[in-house]
Amino acid sequence: MNSELIPLMVIFPLISAILLNLMHGKDKVVRAYGILAMLVVLVVPIFASYGNHLFGAHPVVDTLPQLKISLSEVNLAIEYNFAFLQKALVFLLAAIATFAVLSHISNEKKVSGVYLSMIMLSIAAVSAVVMANDIFNMFVFLEIMTIAQAAIVIAVGGVSGYKAAFKYLVFGGVAGASILLGIALLLGTFGVLNISDLHNSLSGNMTNPIVLTAVGLIVIGWLFESGLFPFHTIKSNMYSAAKPDIAALLQTQTKIVLVALAIVLLRLFGGYSNMTAVMLGLSVGTLIIGSVMALLQTDFRRLLAFTAVSQAGLVGIGIGLGTRLGIAAGIFHAINDAIAMSLLFITVYFIYERAKTTEFKRLGGLLVQAPKLAFIQIIGILIVSGVPPFNAYQSEFRIIDATIQAGHPELGVLVILGTILTFVALMKGFYLTFLKENTTKIALGKVHIYNGLPTVTYVTLIILVIACVGIGLFPMPFYDRAYSVALKILVGW
């Protein structure tokens, strides 16, 4: 039952983070070790077998009568689950992180070990959040993830990065304390931290005001970690202050954590309709406000940042419906959209690397200089806007289907509106960057995109496009498994 590779997915990036930190300054060693470590991080989730891993010497003990648990056994060890969903999410994270590491290694003259170590730390944290079946372990790694993400943004962002990271850490402190307080209340009431045990203790106990307070507190934490309504300006500021390749990594992590925490919330308190109502309402608000704000931006990075936030709202709508179809579609869309938004962020990363700016008033007429990039970006825009035969079409269509089947057809209309608005916003960015000849004084002689794409970027973009088309043409292997995960969430692990 115990697969030895499961803890490696968390422990190896953590050790690499420490080692890279120590190697800082020795350029060649850092380069070599960075590439090697990313290879391991990519390979381990593929070869790990499904199963549980228990940390600690007491796998299971007999009933503890004073804990009032209607179970025959209680888990005392920290438990990590690894199944198809976890495998997909961890591999997706590793793939996008590999690009962030490789782009740093291949483009910078002086490689920063600390920077790579922070990327490794965030990989470890997000993998642990995805796999942990222990609510406190999840909290610890969420906090580590917050600090690591803030550190990555500080490393390259300049003053706007400092401001974004400051807000992120302050509100992250509030949200983290909120989650921990919720955990403390649950611990005080039931005496267990394992999510499966909590699920069993909680069933039919949703009128206890202490439990309801805990639900509210954990939902507030979920809103922060996934960048939904009150926190959307903070998240989008983080995305736009970071370099676009890091922003691709950050938004992937956000969507993965959104799914992981939402699964925990639904498993624990799935029967409580007020919770799903709050999740649904705030997700709808995020979708519309995010896409409206995306349309009003004058900088390509900020435009993409708000688009990413609004797409997180779309995932939230699917999950917040609380039906089997909705949860499956939401999880499926999270994976698809993380790939598609990463594609767009990486195209913008290339523009940023070469032109040193992403403001629309300084860009224009790049189609002549970079036709391949323009072609890939228009494909990315079509993918994110949900055009068949790409992958986001499959999941957005299923989300709309789920809204109608759940009895909220208005929400389906809102999803369509948000998608159209996203398409308009992204096309505006494409038009102003590639098609429109910029004749203003400020732009003359500023924009140069040299011949061709660098190999790493090109290969990554091609792989992402192939992934999008592949999932779009053959969605069923992925969707079926998401559908069975949804059943597990609703019925019990």
Partner: protein, 130 residues
Amino acid sequence: MNGSEVQFWSFVTAALLMIIGIYAIIFMDNIIKKIIGVMLIGDGVNLVLITEGFKPGGIVPIISEKLYNQSPGIFQEFADQASYSLPFALVLTNIVIGASTLAVLLGITIKLYQHYNSLSVHEIFKEEKI
């Protein structure tokens, strides 16, 4: 005054700490005071956890080797009296996390001060017009 009263007022203290922390985060203009607010919220949550583990009239959950050797049967009595020590482990983790967050925040503060020559949030976020 008995032990459960201590527990109640300890919860009240924790609530006050959290409320003061949230007030500082939202209304105080100085960055350092906002950071202290984050610290206070963490302290409040820690106090909640500690108070949960507290058992009125109990003993500290540490058993020395000497004590155990004197009378091995003491283990049962110890288990009855000791306070619940799982929350303490959680608190230790949270203290460390809070300290590292605080350190990063203070580092950012110095950088922001070097750029804006001010510690006021109003001054630093001026460019983002309200």
